[in-house]
């Protein structure tokens, strides 16, 4: 791995910007202030010392700026991914604009991503171009994917503007793409991370580059998940230790590439505790002792082939096996009822896609996906076991057309047809088969105009839905097969601008959007407390603005990269006009949020400083004081040092997360860790 270097002078000026921002953070909450922090960071706010100092000292030898995009998208490349203090993909994605990571705290908690308040189940997550499917609950836990071997993480609003992709790529409202790195040389790398929460996290990576490129990667994580926290409430601060957050996880990956063929195998095996919410208790004896075991294995392959000069072919296949067990044991915690649920999922995915250039003006793409998900569960409670079995067969067909009538203009349109058949059977009752069919046609239109290399203006309109998950449909006992899909509609208008600015590469983009979600699937209790039911109840309307900027400068051994993002969103519940909470801001949707990251490198030293801000939000659509969650502002710092030792090299990474020990919650009553330090040693040959 090549190390890049950043300037000491640059980082010095950062500290001043950073200490200023800390002062602002003390009075956090106001938008103006966060903007000021960002402006200081970017150097747009007039006499900002950071940027001017930079321009004085750095004479760029090579200008780096990203190409304007036809789709609002943000990419973090391997350099950024390896610089930011992070343990999983979730840590990287939080720097994207308009994104909220739902995080229950600690290294082991579930981490899901929600984009523009559409809901996490509307975000497709792709691993090397193939969608990760969880038919059970529709959520992908990003905490289970390591940044270690990733080349890039990209978020697309809407969909990727690519003619050659699977139909499933078009089937979500937003998409996150994780791309693993292709080995550049034959070698081996070993590392170990340790520090806070009793973390021990060794990893091993080996690569071979010949005609066939092969890499293997394994990492093991052990953490007790314990941390001190202070939950601030009016009149009383509760200080305690978070317990039952222990995790043991083993992840192994194998990648193989040969010309247009790429094969990945992935295995993840874990056991973890699930900490509960912090509520009034006299002692710890009835705190959560729930446990969960997960096992995921998949093998996937893509084959990309150019046939002649006009035709390209993409074949994709994936087989997945998932197992999940959830245990609530009254012998460990008398206050709970016995539950031992086991879920098995098997998924087969096949896709064929082609794109061809019909004429210089018109190109087209076609894709056909077939997918089968089989789901079975054993729910064991105090007296009986029910064994539901469900199968979902989906066929997706997509047709895309790209017209480039004039220089710089692109009109891309796609139609996605989804057909889905569900079959459910409760083994205890012979003949209790329920069926549900669904078919939908959903369009997307993308129009962009590239004025020059520097400026692109774009507009998108997209309709898409998410199917009810197996949990939505069948977990609320008796089945709710009449549930309709949750439907979204979004429109986006934006631009990307990039240019050399003096001696630094500079890019800047902004997007405004409106979106709506209807037939939102929500859980509501039925008459007695023993049962909940699912309903197509909610309706959400959202609008927002996102701003992203990046600066990059380089001279000899010095390098500096900065990124910032700001997001304004206004997502409101418009379900029921008669409700007292009509047009309330939807839960966990901050109006203002932003991030700033700067990475400075000098020779074999690299430092990264990042800020993350999330403004006031409510835990409930009733936007009253009691439901208000305070803004939070975290600062993370990392320092990396690498030393060549003959053919080998050794490195040390120091991550200080939440440098100023901010006490906050992302999910109400699930306190996040304060300051914590992780150190990582690596050696590679």
């Amino acid at each position: 791995m090549k190390q890049t270097a950043l300037p000491a002078a640059g980082s010095g000026s950062y500290i001043s910007a950073f200490s200023k921002s800390r002062g602002l953070a003390e009075v956090a909450g106001a938008v103006g202030e966060i903007l000021l922090v960002i402006f200081l960071h970017l150097g747009l706010g007039g006499p900002a010392r950071a940027a001017s100092a930079l321009q004085d000292t750095v004479k760029a030898s090579k200008i780096v700026y990203s190409r304007p995009a036809v789709i609002p998208s943000i990419t973090l490349d391997s350099k950024v991914l390896r610089s930011i203090p992070s343990t999983s993909v979730a840590d990287a994605i939080k720097y994207f604009s308009g994104v909220q990571i739902k995080d229950y705290g600690g290294l082991g908690g579930l981490k899901t991503v929600n984009v523009r308040s559409l809901g996490s189940q509307h975000v497709g997550v792709f691993y090397n171009g193939v969608k990760i499917v969880n038919a059970q609950n529709g959520q992908v836990d990003l905490g289970r994917y390591s940044l270690e071997n990733l080349e890039s993480v990209t978020l697309y609003q809407g969909q990727k503007a690519d003619l050659l992709q699977t139909a499933s790529d078009l089937a979500s409202a937003a998409a996150v793409y994780m791309k693993t790195r292709t080995p550049e040389r034959t070698g081996i790398k070993a590392g170990i991370r340790t520090g806070a929460f009793g973390t021990v996290n060794p990893s091993l990576y080996a690569s071979y580059t010949g005609k066939v490129k092969i890499s293997a990667d394994a990492s093991w994580l052990h953490t007790n998940g314990r941390y001190r926290f202070t939950l601030r409430q009016p009149g009383l601060d509760t200080s305690a230790t978070r317990v039952n957050g222990q995790v043991k996880a083993l992840r192994t990956e194998l990648a193989l590439s040969y010309e247009g063929l790429k094969v990945n195998a992935y295995l993840y095996n874990s056991s973890r505790g699930l900490p509960g919410p912090v509520v009034r208790r006299l002692s710890e004896q009835y705190d959560s002792k729930d446990c969960q075991w997960d096992r995921t294995a998949f093998i996937q392959g893509t084959w990309n082939k150019k046939l002649g000069s006009d035709l390209r072919l993409l074949l994709t296949g994936k087989f997945t096996r998932d197992f999940c067990r959830y245990l609530q044991d009254p012998s460990k915690n008398a206050s709970v009822v016995y539950i031992d649920n086991r879920y098995h999922q098997g998924c087969t995915f096949l896709s064929a896609a082609a794109s061809w250039t019909i004429s210089p003006i018109i190109s087209a793409g076609l894709a056909l996906d077939g997918q089968s998900s089989v789901f079975s569960a054993t729910w064991e409670n105090a007296f009986a076991a029910t064994i539901p079995w469900a199968q979902r067969l989906s066929a997706l067909g997509a047709a895309q057309i790209l017209i480039t009538p004039f220089e710089g203009w692109r009109l891309q349109s796609s139609l996605l047809y989804t057909r889905q058949r569900d079959k459910v059977e409760y083994s205890a009752v012979p003949g209790s088969v329920r069926r549900q069919n669904l078919s939908r046609l959903t369009p997307t239109v993308i129009l962009s105009w590239q004025q020059s290399e520097r400026l692109t203006i774009r507009g998108i309109y997209k309709e898409i839905f998410r199917s009810p998950t197996f949990n939505d449909l069948y977990y609320s006992i008796g089945g709710r097969t009449s549930l309709q899909p949750e439907f979204t509609r979004q429109g986006d208008l934006g631009f990307d601008f990039s240019a050399p600015l003096g001696q630094v590469g500079f890019s800047f983009g902004a997007d405004g959007y409106i979106s709506s979600v209807r037939d939102k699937i929500v859980a509501m209790p039925s008459a007695s407390q023993f049962r909940w039911t699912m309903k197509n109840y909610g309706k959400v309307r959202a609008r927002g603005v996102e701003v992203n900027g990046a600066l990059s400068a380089r001279k000899n051994n010095l390098q500096l990269d900065m990124r910032l993002s700001y997001s304004y969103q206004d997502a409101r519940d418009v379900t029921d006009k008669g409700s007292r909470w009509y047009k309330g801001l939807i839960p966990y949707s901050p109006r203002h949020s932003g991030s700033a990251t700067s990475i400075a490198g000098y020779k074999n030293l690299r430092a990264c400083l990042s800020f993350l801000y999330t403004g006031t939000r409510y835990r409930n659509v009733a936007n009253i004081e009691e439901n208000r969650l305070k803004p939070w502002f975290t600062t993370d710092f990392s320092l990396a040092w690498q030393k060549k030792l003959g053919n080998a090299s050794a490195g040390i990474n120091l991550d200080i997360n939440n440098l100023f020990d901010w006490q906050y919650e992302i999910v109400s009553r699930y306190p996040m860790p304060g300051r914590y330090v992780l150190v990582r040693f690596t050696i590679e040959y």
């Binding site: 009383l236 009034r280 208790r281 009835y286 009254p330 008398a334 008459a527 049962r531 409700s579 109400s668």
Partner: protein, 371 residues
């Protein structure tokens, strides 16, 4: 005729109340003449895991609800009341509340001041007699805990059936309703465990008898009927093939003496008559049906519920009915969507809506404040 009946039953109730008060004080009962009700304690269940159960006080002289009443009286001790309130009882100088998610019996004074808290896992409902409170709990396969109220100490436990809900004390016996709510087969296959009543001798605090009731999923309180020895019990059914119903169980003979084809999740006694109110949910139709009736146990007559269906339809998720003992005003709680603050509706006995009050999240229980 109606008038005559009222006077007769009022007399019976008054007599019983006095009789009860002497040797075995039950729920605050009117003493002589016109009782002086100042208001009521009002419990909002809150949303599970959000620690937002709340105890409020409704002042009847000016009809105002003081929200955050308990919190305001205990500021700095504990800023929040707890998680998932399941029952409330005003008993002499104390107000008792079970907080299921906090696994606590909260004991506070009538002025709201916190007195003691006792840890009882999976606690559900409360009864009280003498110096002791009795609390049903789902833990350890079902039991009733005995708590010394003033000392705030656990004084003993007595095993019952599965998922004990409602409790009632008649004479020297404690009746616990084993609801078997978690032992109900909601997939409609009929593997339901029958609900039962545990009869517990208060002297020895042991279960002396357990009587099967022929119903399932008895998610219910035990409402003591005006005859003084019968209990009204609800069965929620399995939301599939087995429909909700309600029964009357006679503790004198330990037999079911009456069955109603409707459920009766919420019930209260007013002037010798039982007012029953139910929301029945069905997985077959996916609808919730609201129904109510009035029953006179002495003449075995069923009357129409005073509040008309149209008025009830304005209540999103009705939960709980209470009738002011003298003013005869009917209070019905509305849990709404179960996550945002609910409402409390006040009707007169003719069924006219008088006023609506905003409550905390999931308004669920009321205890009259008699002084």
């Amino acid at each position: 005729m109606k008038n005559f009946r009222f006077i007769f039953y009022a007399a019976v109730v008054a007599f019983m109340a006095v009789a009860c008060d002497k040797d075995n004080p039950v729920i605050p009962a009117p003493e002589g003449g016109d009782p002086d009700y100042h208001g009521f304690f009002f419990l909002n269940e809150g949303q599970m895991g959000h620690n937002n159960a709340s105890l409020e006080y409704f002042n009847l002289s000016n009809h105002t609800m003081s929200s955050g009443w308990w919190t305001s009286r205990n500021y700095g001790i504990r800023s929040q009341f707890g998680d998932s309130g399941t029952d409330i009882m005003a008993y002499y100088d104390y107000v008792l509340v079970t907080l299921n998610g906090s696994n606590l019996l909260e004991i506070c004074k009538r002025n709201g001041e916190h007195h003691k808290a006792v840890e009882i896992p999976a606690c559900r409902r409360i009864a009280a007699s003498g110096d002791f409170a009795y609390v049903s709990s789902y833990a350890n396969d079902g039991y009733v805990a005995k708590v010394h109220i003033e000392k705030g100490l656990l004084a003993g436990t007595c095993a019952t059936g599965h998922e004990p809900e409602g409790l009632a004390i008649i004479g020297n016996k404690l009746y616990a309703l084993n609801s078997c709510g978690y032992h109900t087969d909601y997939s409609g296959n009929g593997n339901n465990e029958e609900a039962s009543i545990s009869v517990i001798d208060l002297n020895t605090f042991t279960e002396v008898e357990r009587v099967n009731l022929g119903i399932i999923n008895a998610y219910s309180s035990l409402t003591i009927m005006p005859d003084g020895h019968s209990l009204f019990i609800n069965s929620s059914g399995d939301y599939n093939g087995v429909a909700p119903k309600s029964i009357i169980f006679d503790t004198a003979t330990l037999t079911v003496t009456k069955e109603f084809p409707q459920g009766g999740t919420y019930s209260t006694v007013y002037r010798g008559e039982l007012y029953v109110f139910d929301t029945a949910f069905s997985y077959e139709t996916y609808t919730t049906e609201v129904s109510g009736f009035v029953y006179d146990i002495f003449t075995d007559t069923v009357f129409e519920f005073p509040i008309k269906a149209e008025a009830l339809a304005t209540i999103t998720a009705p939960s709980g009915i209470w009738i002011h003992p003298t003013e005869g005003e009917v209070y019905i709680a509305d849990k709404g969507d179960f996550t945002t603050p609910g409402q409390l509706f006040r009707f007169d006995l003719a069924g006219t809506l008088k006023e609506k009050y905003s409550t905390g999240v999931c308004p669920s229980l009321l205890a009259w404040d008699l002084r």
